[in-house]
Amino acid sequence: MNKLITISLSPHLHSQDSTKKLMRGVIIALLPAFAVSAWMFGWRTLIVTAVAILSSLLFEFIIQKFLLKKKLSINDHSAILTGMLLAFCLPVNIPLGLVVIGSLVAIGVGKMTFGGIGNNPFNPALVGRVFLFISFPVKMTSWPVPMGFQTPLTDATTGATPLGIIKEGLRNSETVDSILKNIPTSMEMFYGKMGGSFGEVAAVALILGFLYLLAKKIISWHIPISIIGTVVLFTGILWLVNPEQNADPVFHILTGGLLLGAIFMATDYVTSPMTPKGMIIFGVGIGLLTVIIRRYGAYPEGVQFAILIMNAFVPLINSYTKPKRFGEEVKNG
């Protein structure tokens, strides 16, 4: 036999998993929420998402090709996912120019500055989101009322989010009971009929995505469940102690970006811890910070900040939560 054969080290098998397949899996998991968003907020949902995805891809391409002169990696679907997640945490009537700016910051500052995929300490979509939130606070907090495909493409009727209503009400010394009369019911919030960033409203669709991610073993339960569990526990205690001044745990889970953040943002591989123990510490931290900001901070919603703050602790968490080594606790002899 004079044919050339391959010589390489073991293992000679591979699972056939790839970065691209994992990213695609997360994108698929986001589709139910995307569908509900479109149902609630109409055509503009599609436009905003398309602009965010396309501009994310474009900026990644430009930066890699012309600034870094590196091998292109826009095929790995990670920029699509970043664009999609960024879009999901924007109000649907946001000017499209801001979507492009948000994508530039997410990809340019959040991701490529640190060397591209795998090296960024902070979740790129959230970096873009927070940049817009702080720079354009008015545009970023005018929430259209969900009117389905009847929602006008421009000048939609806006209203506050449930979290905003509660925050405002408590500031005006109203009781929770009286405020709750002005906001959607739990059932409406469960399927997404409320104001907010368009990808975050549909709890049921987000949970469906979560189940898909678990079934495909793309993520483990540790981060989402520890975030949600912490929020339930913390807000539950506050609510039991003083129901006049605190909303119940169900309200806290169904409103704002909690589910979107817990399931899709905090679980970003690159910016979350690597062992189950570390993941739980990370999740509990996010849960606590979220409630503290929601209840005591200046902003009605705190998930985005909570995740970014805990992102910063990930290297530290990783170095203190090593896996248990085989044979570690056994004494020799």
Partner: protein
């Protein structure tokens, strides 16, 4: 709930195509090439010279020192060459080439296939006969068996574990041996237990081999001191430390040996070889080898003489299929790629695997996305991504602290990595360098 080792592991497609093929005896080769280093430890010293006539089973190279092994002539014939030649390690090493004639066995070898169950040997006699027979671990590690039978001072063996796991995909040589030589394997186990003065024997078999499980369970029922335990299918369950953990719950300490927890692990093939060496005076001159792969015409299990060229085995299984891209000595997870099919079958050759071109090359490497899959599959509780980075950056002190030397090189990390990172390649390099550093301290 079936038992298994608790942490890590993967489950690649099993592809045991040759599981139903009975062990067939391969024709004697015309020329054989017997390497002097077929075991872990010091190579054996040749006892013959060019032109000598040797009989089948005659000692042709003697062990040098304790951790070494005897080598016997697998055929009858004339020694034509003592030289360096290529073996399955990929290196040219000392070997003896013999031209085969009619097969005449040494007189003291019992070539009758009848089962001899009873024995009256002392432990010392069993160890001596194992040493004389050149028996080594047949699972692939080829550690001399008489060394494992000799418990170091201050340690005590409590249980002998027979490894019938065969967790490597594709390979079936152990599976067939259990089905066809079950009684002999059990006697071999009892001999090993006697040599170690142990009264407890466990045979671990994964439950993807129900026929072997029921066969050995039935045979073992006549020996109350021996139990057969089914295990959940999970790679690398055949790793000594994982198998001991799965079967006894004991954890071999980091840097330690199985004997530190009172266990001695032997492959089922080794138990069969011990049976033949002790009960039949037959040295290790032949073994069962699986020849398999996706395009292979007749996936087979052959009983072949040591020294038979690999090429002859492949021909007997239908030849090298069109579009073969890689030929592996061993299984796909831990086997070594061969650079030639003219190399001889050695004592540790459990299988020859032919991989088609489409699966023979690795995909392009992407950046690490910290998905932590490598951590979750590592059966030793290590952080492969970190060990790779530390090796890349030549931070060997830290790699040592992160226990890179504990790696058993099972390859689960490289298998699972979605970014196709060469994790195990780098960890091997790191282990090599850390090993040098540790030795230089002494």
């Amino acid at each position: 709930m079936l038992r298994s080792f608790p942490k890590g592991g993967v489950h690649p497609p099993e592809n045991k195509f040759s599981a139903g093929s009975k062990i067939t005896v391969l024709d004697l080769p015309k020329t054989i090439n017997v390497p002097l280093s077929q075991h872990l430890g010091v190579p054996a010293a040749a006892q013959v010279k060019r032109g000598d006539l040797v009989k089948t089973g005659q000692l042709i190279a003697e062990h040098k020192g304790f951790v070494s092994g005897n080598i016997h002539s697998p055929v009858t014939g004339k020694v034509v060459k003592l030289d360096k030649s290529l073996d399955s390690s990929g290196y040219k090493r000392n070997s003896i080439t013999i031209e085969a004639e009619a097969d005449k066995w040494m007189d003291e070898i019992d070539t009758n296939s009848s089962l001899i169950k009873e024995f009256t040997y002392t432990g010392k006699e069993i160890i001596d006969k194992t040493l004389a027979g050149g028996i080594v671990g047949m699972g692939g590690a080829t550690f001399p068996t008489h060394v494992k039978m000799s418990v170091p001072r201050g340690k005590k063996a409590e249980v002998v574990i027979l490894n019938g796991v065969e967790c490597e995909p594709y390979l079936t040589s152990d599976h067939r041996l259990m089905l066809e030589k079950g009684e002999e394997i059990l006697v071999g186990l009892r001999l090993i237990m006697k040599a170690l003065n142990v009264t407890k024997g466990i045979i671990g078999i994964e439950n993807n081999k129900p026929d072997a499980l029921s066969k050995l369970t039935q045979i073992a029922s006549q020996y109350p001191e021996i139990s057969v335990i089914p295990l959940k299918v999970k790679y690398p369950q055949g790793g000594e430390k994982q198998l001991i953990k799965a079967l006894t719950g004991r954890e071999v300490p980091s840097g330690g040996l199985p004997i530190d927890v009172g266990a001695v692990v032997q492959n089922v093939g080794t138990a069969f070889a011990v049976y033949e060496a002790v009960q039949k005076n037959k040295p290790l001159i032949e073994r069962v080898v699986t020849v398999t792969g996706k395009g292979v015409k007749q996936p087979s299990n052959f009983l072949v003489r040591i020294g038979t060229p690999v090429n002859q085995l492949i021909e007997a299984a239908g030849g090298i299929p069109e579009g073969t891209g890689k030929i592996i000595n061993g299984g796909p997870m831990m086997g070594k790629a061969l650079n030639s099919v003219d190399v001889p079958v050695m004592k540790g050759t459990s299988g020859i695997l032919l991989i088609p071109e489409g699966e023979s090359q690795r995909e392009a490497v992407d950046p690490c996305i910290r998905c932590a899959k490598c951590i979750s599959v590592c059966p030793m509780g290590l952080e492969p991504y970190l060990l790779m980075t530390l090796t890349e950056k030549a931070m060997f002190d830290r790699a040592e602290n992160e226990r890179t030397m504990d790696c058993i090189e099972c390859g689960s990390c490289s298998y699972i990595c979605p970014a196709n990172r060469p994790l195990l390649d780098y960890i091997r390099l790191g282990k090599f360098r850390v090993g040098q550093i540790i030795r230089s301290r002494k």
